[in-house]
């Protein structure tokens, strides 16, 4: 391990990462891959509401089912960003929209993994394992194991993390940036902590006052729609650092990010503003940091499940099934909304509550491993054991 320390030190100094990576809400891990293609996977932990991020505003039942979570149509004030007349992107996702217009973004609707669990932990475990049971290694790591090293590549043991997302655990050597020191949890978690302490005569008032003083006014805790989130955040910082590393000739080729804060059981319309903005800013920053290598890049954005189609009693949504995934990047054949749209009409919902899944998440990932990283079939199979039924999705990439 010690042999790799200087590389870490050199790069840290080179890229000025030390300060950027002290915020712990997002994490990134790196790995090596043959070839010049870059792959980033962004795992949104908590269950992103796909119908809120990519809204089927052209669908007949949409507005009635979604109530306050259906945003104004494109062109109206605060309206959706149009994705070709049927779907609209959440207005915070301006950079993804710009990629879409440049045919570099492919939102895919009604995606779900090979599980039907609505438990965060089970669903995340299976998503990361890439199997129908919890494994001790993750699909991304297994996909990259036993591949020959690229000539001239730096060993990727950039630093020893305190831990590693399961997706990246396994036989392949992986470097991580584990966030160190202090950082700010997302508003959603802060709100829960404040709530959990509210009745406590000592901790309650102290936490409330401390958050106020830090500028997390009630608004940022999701109760006021007028407050605009601050640009940047941990994910953007990580994305810039990661983009620069991925851009280096001797740098890693694969990065896996985690981003928390998507579990919006209440006041979702406000609470998702900040995380969506953070995600969008981060992806935009990743693109910029990758520079000319963006054209060799594919980014897969996934979450463990979608959320209920109907709004719950507190302006939020509960754990569901079909959700949205994004494939982004200069190498991606974008500019359309992918996936077979199941519809929202009576009888079309999964268990009469969730968007019915039509695309297997594994097919997406397998398509990228095969066609983007150019991995042999063996490696792809090792990544997703028992997934014969989920064939690699073709057509994700530019010809």
């Amino acid at each position: 391990m010690s042999a790799h320390q200087p590389a870490f030190g050199r790069r840290t100094a080179l890229l000025g990462l030390a300060a950027a990576l002290t915020l712990p809400r997002a994490r990134v891990a790196f790995a090596e891959a043959p070839g010049e293609a870059r792959l980033a996977v962004v795992l949104l932990r908590g269950g992103l509401d796909g119908l809120f991020a990519v809204q089927p505003y052209g669908e007949a039942d949409f507005r009635e089912l979604r109530g306050g979570l259906a945003l104004p149509e494109p062109g109206q004030e605060g309206g959706l960003l149009d994705l070709g007349g049927r779907f609209g992107l959440h207005p915070r996702l301006t950079q993804i929209h710009a990629m879409y217009l440049a045919n570099e973004a492919l939102p895919i609707h009604a995606v779900a993994g090979n599980w039907r669990s609505r438990s965060h932990f089970t669903a995340q475990d299976l998503l990361e394992s890439g199997a129908d049971h919890l494994m001790s290694s993750g699909w991304l790591n297994r996909a990259l194991s036993t591949l020959p090293a690229r000539p001239g590549a730096q060993p990727t043991g950039l630093s020893v993390g305190t831990d590693l997302p399961l997706m990246m655990r396994g036989p392949t050597r992986v470097g991580t940036y584990a966030p160190r020191g202090a950082g700010t949890p997302p508003p959603d978690l802060l709100a829960r902590i404040a709530e959990l302490n509210a009745a406590d005569p000592v901790a309650g008032p102290a936490i409330a006052e401390g958050l106020q003083a830090r500028g997390y006014a009630i608004s940022t805790l999701g109760m006021d729609a007028t407050a605009r989130p601050q640009p940047g955040g941990a994910f953007r910082a990580l994305a810039i650092a990661a983009g620069r590393l991925l851009a280096q000739p001797d740098g890693p080729r694969v990065a896996a990010f985690e981003l928390n804060g998507w579990d919006t059981h209440s006041a979702q319309a406000n609470r998702l503003n900040a995380p969506l903005f953070q995600l969008d800013e981060g992806l935009g920053a990743l693109k910029e940091a990758l520079g000319e290598h963006w054209r060799r890049t594919a980014v897969l954005v996934v979450t463990e499940f979608g959320r209920t189609v109907r709004v719950n009693g507190t302006g939020g949504t509960d754990h569901g099934t079909g959700g949205v995934a994004f494939v982004l990047g200069g190498a991606v054949a974008g500019g359309k909304v992918g996936g077979a749209w199941p519809g929202l009409a009576q009888g079309r919902l999964f268990e009469n509550r969730d968007l019915a899944p039509t695309t297997d998440l594994r097919s997406l990932a397998k398509g990228l491993l095969r066609d983007h990283l150019g991995l042999p079939g063996q490696a792809v199979a090792r990544a997703f054991p028992g997934s014969e039924a989920a064939a690699p999705m073709a057509g994700l990439l530019r010809a």
């Binding site: 965060h120 995340q124 831990d163 950082g183 949890p185 959990l196 901790a203 936490i207 401390g210 804060g261």
Partner: protein
């Protein structure tokens, strides 16, 4: 886990690691930690440990600087090794009660690490730890004769005006150490001492110094700086010379006002911010009857009924909080380094309080708004360690019946395992002991 075992671990100990055995007799478990000879912090083999070696290391640093070198590498090395060894024992050890007592007494006899480089760790190891279950007078003596305290409170600069050195130069008394021993360490102003007593006690302590440059190193009585003649402190007369100081410290250590002060502080630390008078009286009686046997006082604390009364009314200090959180996550001993940074961030830098009175000991002091937000941030940062853990199972293993259903519910609804752990670590009950 029954309630008593849970309380024993958080009220008297440093919090449970999930795999810690659950004591069937919590009182006996706490008593067992008061036995003599339990292991202290594990220092690297080659680290300078005794005063001659430490002063030699300091001299090396000074010489390096004098000859154009950079920094003080020995100082850095010693600082880091001493603090991480001490923290490592707290995080990974199984003598939480003993460690709590060591922290309590280190704080009672506060020094500032930054002011007494090289010897702060030695001070805790040699002047405090051997006596936490011994006699208070022995601890007081070891503390006041240690270079760290003599340097920190300026006694090395104190010169009797009528001593040979005082007659020659312009230097005179420095009352700092004498005043703090009276005010903070022993009898307190409640004993009714006046300025005359402080001045007289300072005169008693003139000549109490140390020499770090030549053998025997460490404590050195300098007759040359000692104020001649007999002195009167709190109505007692003390002879000229080093023996006068020794007698004065024995007298102060066993003064009834000292016993009352120590009893109050101990009960405030282990029972409640507003110490229940009956509990103070009990501990006070034990100290008086045993002539300051701190082990006996610790045993009596454990047997105070008030100490076992839930809900737990004490708020964890930042130090207790950091250690308890890392224990809960079963952090390996290697993270002691990181704990050190956490203590800094959460306002309780290791062995480095802002003033001789030490860190405060009530919830008002620790539950400050900014500090609470920082605890949330810090917890969220270390919760990455818990990946793959079930937060509810961890809460049960660490807090047992002290964990509230609300917290378990919030954890079960969290969006990720990490969020769930953060919620447990920032719950009201986890801030308490």
């Amino acid at each position: 886990m029954d309630l008593k075992a849970a309380i024993a671990a958080v009220r008297f100990g440093q919090g449970r690691r999930p795999g810690d055995p659950i004591p069937t007799d919590p009182v006996a478990w706490l008593d067992s930690q008061l036995a003599p000879g339990l292991p202290g912090p594990a220092l690297p083999e080659d680290l300078p440990k005794d005063l001659p070696a430490l002063y030699l290391a300091a001299a090396e640093d000074t010489e390096r600087l004098r000859t154009g070198g950079q920094g003080r590498p020995n100082q850095q090395l010693i600082n880091r090794a001493e603090t991480t060894a001490a923290l490592g024992l707290e995080i990974a050890g199984d003598q939480g009660f003993r460690e709590r007592l060591a922290s309590f007494w280190t704080n009672h006899f506060s020094i500032a690490r930054s002011r007494v480089q090289y010897v702060a760790g030695h001070y805790v190891r040699e002047a405090i730890r051997p006596h936490v279950t011994g006699r208070f007078e022995d601890m007081l003596m070891a503390v006041v004769r240690h270079p760290a305290m003599l340097g920190y409170l300026d006694n090395t600069a104190s010169v009797g005006p009528n001593s040979p050195a005082g007659q020659r130069g312009r230097r005179g008394l420095n009352e700092n150490l004498a005043r703090e021993v009276l005010e903070l360490h022993t009898v307190t102003p409640a004993s009714g001492y006046g300025q005359a007593d402080v001045t007289a006690f300072a005169a008693v302590l003139t000549g109490w110094s140390f020499d770090g440059a030549r053998p025997p190193y460490g404590f050195l009585f300098r007759p040359n700086a000692h104020e001649p003649g007999e002195k009167t402190v709190l109505g007692r007369r003390f002879a000229e010379g080093e023996q006068g100081g020794i007698a004065a410290l024995h007298f102060l250590a066993n003064h009834d006002a000292t016993h009352r002060h120590l009893a109050t502080k101990l009960v405030r630390h282990f029972v409640a911010d507003d110490p229940p008078p009956a509990a103070v009286q009990t501990i006070h009686g034990v100290l008086r009857d045993t002539r300051g046997d701190l082990g006996a006082a610790a045993k009596a604390l454990v047997r105070l009924e008030a100490a076992w009364d839930p809900p737990l009314g004490k708020f964890r200090s930042s130090h207790d909080y950091v250690v308890a959180a890392l224990r809960a996550l079963e952090a390996p001993i290697e993270v002691a380094d990181r704990a050190f940074g956490g203590l800094q961030y959460l306002g309780q830098p290791m062995w480095n309080p802002p003033a001789p009175i030490g860190f405060p000991d009530t919830s008002r002091d620790w539950a400050a708004p900014e500090m609470m937000v920082r605890r949330i941030e810090w917890s969220n940062g270390i919760a990455t360690r818990g990946a793959g853990r079930d937060a509810a199972a961890l809460a049960e293993a660490v807090l047992g019946p002290l964990c509230r259903p609300e917290t378990l519910r919030a954890a079960s609804r969290a969006g990720s395992a990490r969020d769930a752990l953060t919620l447990v670590l920032t719950s009201p009950e986890f801030h308490r002991r």
